[in-house]
Symmetry: C2
């Protein structure tokens, strides 16, 4: 098992400038951005549909997330001058490319979350990665 270190390529080099990583993580690391992109993945949707499709999101966060995504050119916002007003949001090509990247990351998560869960459960028994207070608590 130790010989199967690398699947593709000799060694994935860590980028010298890790600023790019933080840039994308600052965007998708928050609680709602990824869910919003994923929901829009199905096609253009209006504000109220998004709020209904993303369980637990507040309009404050939905509005903010949509604005950030629009600013970065990941989604488009189209307002129709009707009554009642209608606003539709849709992924741009750039947004779709980010979605694809996130899907790839989700692939890693799906492949390894079982292993991670097992490791975490094992640590729970061993006491690894916990403070002494937690150890004392579990001893009570």
């Amino acid at each position: 098992m130790a010989s199967a270190r690398r699947i593709s390529g000799p060694c994935q080099a860590w980028p010298e400038d890790s600023a790019f990583i933080r840039e994308v993580l600052d965007r998708i690391g928050d609680k709602w951005t990824v869910l919003t992109i994923g929901t829009l993945s199905a096609g253009a949707m209006r504000y109220s549909d998004l709020q209904a499709s993303i369980p637990g999101i507040s309009q404050r966060m939905l509005t903010q997330t949509l604005k950030h995504l629009e600013r970065d050119g990941l989604i488009t916002r189209t307002a129709y001058a009707e009554v009642p007003p209608r606003v539709e949001y849709a992924l741009t090509d750039l947004g779709r490319s980010l979605r694809d990247a996130v899907v790839a990351l989700a692939g890693w998560a799906a492949a390894h979350h079982g292993e991670i869960a097992r490791n975490r459960a094992a640590s729970e028994l061993t006491g690894v990665g916990r403070g002494k207070a937690a150890l004392r608590a579990s001893a009570d």
Copy 2:
């Protein structure tokens, strides 16, 4: 440019169960985890070396990050019974696989951060994605 929509595959389907995505984002979405993994990418290091190599991290956050990574089996912690004490941290195979996944994401960021920056700058002029207060402020 609009014809180059998809690079590989017909359409990256969004995972039905997006729980995996949140799982990995909850891990790498914070401020320090990715930097820690990237630093350990060079090889095993001790606590003080990590603190020196990750500019701006506090021992509180370094300790916490290391504990979480150890719990999930992404890094190993080896304490040598010496004086002065020495503790070394190293990526596991699982940790390396996560690093590779993050490097892939960084690839996306590197490829598109220019476009994003341009979009954001354009929005700055247009007023897209900003509140009316911000528009008024820029008008002063």
